[in-house]
Symmetry: C2
Subunit: 246 residues, 2 copies
DNA sequence: GAGTGGTCTAGACCACGGT
DNA sequence: CCGTGGTCTAGACCACTCC
């Protein structure tokens, strides 16, 4: 799985991290890279685009491809694909995780639920309400709905382990993308009951809508998690022109 | 500023939102679009890439470009460029905003500060500590550091208004990108003093490192904000292959 | 004006999905 | 097998930065 543009991307990435361009803080010009890698300009540009998405470089017309200074933030950098994008602030070493199932049931989406999770009224769904324990502390509370028509054969045992493993290994679709809303809210009665909040009376909330590669929304999960344990990292660019006007 | 690929992008975006493709939930094939817009395939692919970045479509090799189902999340969708990416949950209508300056000073980065904000030791910086009021409520506390060598001539009056307007109108660089860490933390003593937390004892925290288009880190801001008022929205894709191994 | 990245063209071949 | 998107080439012209 190593395309030409990926090889070039990885090569340049390593060189940037190793500090080879620290004198100029710029990449060589596209023309130079074309010659060096004996490839076309489009392929070079594709590689540079990858570096850009990583937050390593930024291109300016007429000036060149500038290398962005490093920050402490980079130490925490990662890509978030789904709810696991919530990276534990504590190191992963010596972490004991477990899942406790509060509810696992099958039900039909009514009007109220439909408004909340954007599934059509009448859709049959699996509802899984789970607590995530880290080192015996209840740090996360996941409330998930899966479309039965897509995630066939889901059951309590699978929910206790990894639903995503089950999908990857047994079902005929792939997970393509997700849309996420992140908030901070006052803790409600359930939060204080099921999460180890300690003295804290607020939670982080992530609402996550997940899509199959057929374009179908198949999962909606609301995660409520305790403070001081998780972080989300992202890289953002001033959209040079395009504006969102949905 | 309307390139060909942008025109096509906007056209297709409108058609998707208008539901023209709702029967198949797929875009026409690239070949069809090439003919329709009388352009090259690369340009069509560029337009589709824009739609993809908006979270509207997802391409699958051999199958086509699938349109993603809509969700309630889309109602809140927006691009976050810097700290303003914290979108107020309350509507923007009838909102009175104000800024109160707690501290404005010039200082030199020492070792402790350097570790926190990734500016080199000895760098001269402006330090602005500001409270954002929305409808007379203290909802956000910004603690910002700007490199003096880059943001020349910053002063208290400018900090009271918009530093970004000042940069755009008076300085010779542009803002390129930012890296962000988002967390939830227990409120500290200062938080309870300066923010209208009410009964809440936690805050949302955004750490933001901002870059010029010369690749220079020039601003570090830590925003601490009250619960229940702000949300961050994002679109994420399963990186088909590329993995981050910095 | 010289050099740089941004847009665009018109092809080619490959890998995967569905029939 | 055919149709689809993914990769890649080898050019062209334009817009911007910087000297």
């Amino acid at each position: 799985m190593d395309n030409k543009f990926e090889i070039i991307y990885k090569t340049l990435k390593k060189e940037i991290i190793d500090g080879i361009y620290n004198d100029t803080m710029k990449l060589p010009t596209e023309a130079v890279l074309v010659k060096r890698f004996d490839t076309s300009r489009n392929t070079i540009r594709r590689s540079i685009q990858c570096l850009n998405e990583d937050g390593l470089v930024y291109s300016v017309k007429g000036r060149g491809v500038v290398i962005l200074e490093n920050t402490r933030v980079d130490e925490m950098f990662f890509k978030m694909g789904n709810f696991q994008g919530l990276k534990a602030l504590s190191s992963y070493a010596n972490v004991k995780t477990a899942t406790k199932i509060r509810v696992f049931e099958e039900l039909t989406v009514d009007e109220k639920l439909s408004k909340r999770i954007s599934f059509p009224i009448g859709e049959r769904v699996f509802h899984a309400d789970r607590i995530r324990l880290i080192n015996d502390r209840a740090t996360m509370h996941d409330n998930s709905y899966f479309k039965k028509s897509i995630v066939k054969g889901l059951n309590k045992d699978i929910a206790k382990e990894s639903i995503y493993n089950y999908i990857n290994e047994n079902l005929d679709f792939n997970i393509a993308a997700s849309k996420t809303v992140t908030k901070v809210e006052s803790a409600n009665k359930i939060d204080s009951e099921v999460l180890d909040l300690g003295k804290n009376n607020c939670v982080g909330v992530v609402e996550n809508a997940v899509y199959t590669d057929m374009g179908k929304l198949f999962e909606h999960t609301t995660i409520r998690y305790i403070p001081n344990e998780y972080a989300i990292v992202s890289f953002n660019q001033s959209d040079k022109d395009r504006v969102d006007h949905l």
